[in-house]
């Protein structure tokens, strides 16, 4: 595997001319001081990441004894930090590679599952008329109050010991007979389920807001033609909701990829299932002084979100806006 610099594709923001100050006025008002402030903040915001990138390519001794800014005076470049972090070596016992695959294996299903289930739920709330749909909508919205932290211990117990009300099993006890190990231990399943559960409230909320704005005439025409809910959902609502779905998919993928809390609770730290964030937290805890290694590891871990972010920025921004600005 080769590590290359991220592709800094910067998509122009969609020009929403309406309502904004006109172009001429804009130029008039754009004072050199404002430009200066923006440039300074932009540089300040970028420097830490640049420092990380440069340090990750410096020889161990340089990285540990001199500042990364001296690199410009003394430009020595090595790829051995990456080689060591990727495959494991004398300083870092295990490489990041298995964790890297785990991150994909966790994040892709954990983005798709809640997305599909939330689209279905959002459709039902928005377009299948029934009593209590508003109540369910606000109930789900309000569920965002429940911090992840509140659900961790009970969920962990459920995965390990099963859960039943009286004698009725709601979630089976999956312990292997005679051992203390759940069948789910060492699999991605608890992670997928947990991430799906935690993502649903926000996903349903966002997708409902989008779907509710689809034209009513369209649905009614389809109904008149005899189409049932399942057909309307698949043939009309899903295709029209692609922008919203794409936005949320990116959002959720990045969220899961970057998550640490759910990962260390449900996956432990083993290379079998734990993601890169877990590896990185360990690396910093154990080899924090080995700056050349932690920086290389961090860069490998952040490169995927950065590529996703820079190539799909427009969708990502749209998703954020849908969540926090009305209309």
């Amino acid at each position: 595997m080769s590590v290359e610099a991220p592709e800094f594709v910067i998509l122009p923001e969609p020009e929403e001319g309406k309502g904004s100050v006109t172009e001429a006025a804009r130029r008039k008002l754009s004072s050199p001081w404002a430009v200066l402030v923006v440039v300074i903040i932009t540089v300040l915001w970028t420097i830490p990441t640049v420092g990380l990138l440069i340090t990750s390519f410096r020889p161990a001794a340089d990285a540990q004894n001199t500042g990364w800014w001296t690199f410009f005076r003394n430009p020595a470049v090595t790829f051995s930090n990456y080689a060591e972090v990727i495959t494991g070596g004398s300083n870092a016992a295990i490489g990041i590679t298995p964790y890297f695959f785990n991150s994909f294996a966790i994040a892709i299903p954990a983005a798709i599952f809640p997305l599909v289930l939330a689209s279905m739920a959002a459709y039902a709330i928005a377009w299948v008329p029934f009593k209590g749909s508003t109540l369910i909508f606000f109930g789900i919205f309000a569920l965002q109050v429940v911090p992840l932290q509140m659900a961790l211990l009970p969920l962990l117990q459920m995965f390990n010991l099963g859960w039943s009300i009286g004698d009725i099993p709601i979630f089976p006890d999956l312990n292997k007979p005679g051992s203390n190990q759940s069948l789910l231990a060492g699999t991605y399943i608890p992670l997928w389920i947990a991430h799906t559960m935690f993502a649903l409230p926000l996903a349903i909320f966002l997708l409902h807001n989008f779907m509710a704005q689809l034209p009513r005439d369209l649905m009614e025409a389809a109904r008149v033609d005899g189409a049932g809910h399942f057909l309307i959902f698949r043939k009309i609502v899903l295709p029209l909701s692609v922008p919203a779905i794409a936005s949320f998919a990116i959002f959720q993928f990045l969220w899961v990829w970057n998550d640490l809390l759910v990962a260390i609770t449900f996956a432990g730290g083993t290379p079998n299932v734990a993601p890169v964030t877990s590896y990185l937290a360990n690396l910093k805890g154990t080899y924090g002084a080995q700056l050349h290694l932690t920086t290389a590891g961090a860069f490998i871990a952040i490169i995927v979100p950065l590529i996703v972010f820079f190539s799909l920025q427009r969708f990502f921004v749209r998703g954020l806006l849908a969540g926090s600005v009305k209309g």
């Binding site: 309502g19 540990q64 785990n102 299903p109 798709i112 789900i140 799906t196 959902f233 937290a281 926090s324």
Partner: protein, 324 residues
């Protein structure tokens, strides 16, 4: 190469899981679509809404009640201890609570203020997208990654030696001879950790507020300008009131994120040196100390902190819906 080959089955199992999941749904859809007439609506509700409702019930509602109940039990969740766990929090963990309150107040306000400033400055600028992308970029970086990035910034070395951390070096260039060991420098290390959060959240505040500013109708701005409102007056009398709702949403959203902040503190200091916050203490109590009573009580404290913020958001949302 060998590692890559070892990784492929992992992707395979993920693909299988997705395939199974979709297959089950397709079968459900196929069965559901056969119901016609009066049953059609109820069956559709069951199939569409059922899975999501079951999952949020099992994953959020029931665990929330279990955690509240568990917060009144002892460390092993065996005996009822009443409010002892809460007494423990308020008697012995005051430092943690104070830190958390500082976080909730300072980090969101700083992020929103800086984000608003940038949004206003950028609104009048051409070629804004480069600056926006770069300031927004930290949003895509994990808290753990950000902690390593900033750990490097805050790295401490003996002042007599060459410096590795940029912060120390800049301070020395400015004439301070012996910069402190930033991460151990109580109580200011808390603020240095908050800087990481602000670094990440400013982009979010900027992008959302910038969109809100662009949505202010042009005639409102023009009318105000005709009436002689410029500069600060235009900003405080027109811009701010017009984007008030969005400002509050941004502020509360960051507050909720900050309240649950865990990764930064865990990776930077693991809660040592006077930097502990409720979310990380909760993890430590539950999974390191194995005191589930304390852990549950801390989770409930987090919950109580988030509730007013969300209620406020729900009220706002209802108002907006009523207007529509």
């Amino acid at each position: 190469m060998e590692e890559v080959l070892n990784g492929l089955p992992k992707l395979g199992s993920a693909a299988t899981a997705i395939g199974l999941f979709l297959a089950v749904l397709l079968i459900l859809f196929f069965i559901g679509a056969r119901f016609r007439g009066r049953l059609q609506g109820p069956v559709a509700i069951l199939v569409f809404l059922g899975p999501a409702l079951i999952l949020v019930t099992m994953g959020l509602i029931v665990p929330a009640f279990r955690t509240i109940y568990g917060s009144t039990l002892d460390a092993n969740q065996e005996e009822f201890v009443g409010l002892d766990n809460y007494a423990w929090i308020f008697d012995t963990q005051q430092g943690v609570l104070v830190n958390t309150i500082l976080w909730i107040v300072i980090a969101p306000i700083a992020s929103t203020a800086l984000g608003l400033t940038l949004a206003l400055l950028l609104d009048r600028m051409r070629r804004e997208s480069v600056a926006k992308s770069l300031i927004f970029m930290p949003m895509a970086i994990s808290f753990v990654g950000a902690s390593i990035i900033w750990g490097l910034m805050y790295e401490y070395r003996d002042p007599a030696k060459e410096q590795v951390g940029l912060l120390s070096q800049v301070v020395m260039w400015l004439g301070v001879d012996d910069p402190p060991n930033w991460i151990l420098w109580q109580p200011f290390n808390n603020y240095l950790l908050m800087v990481i959060m602000v670094w990440i959240q400013v982009g979010f505040a900027m992008v959302v507020l910038s969109a809100a500013i662009k949505n202010i109708p042009a005639d409102v701005v023009e009318a105000a300008e005709l009436d002689g409102a410029v500069g600060w007056k235009l900003f405080s009398r027109v811009t701010i009131p017009m984007i008030r709702a969005t400002l509050i949403v941004v502020l509360t959203t960051i507050m909720i994120a900050v309240l649950k902040i865990f990764d930064i503190v865990r990776t930077m200091t693991n809660g040592n040196f006077g930097t502990q916050v409720v979310a990380n203490e909760m993890y430590a109590q539950s999974f390191v100390q194995f005191n589930q009573g304390h852990g549950n009580a801390l989770a409930v404290v987090l919950f109580i902190g988030v509730v007013p913020l969300i209620i406020y958001n729900v009220v706002q949302l209802r108002k907006e819906r009523a207007i529509r």
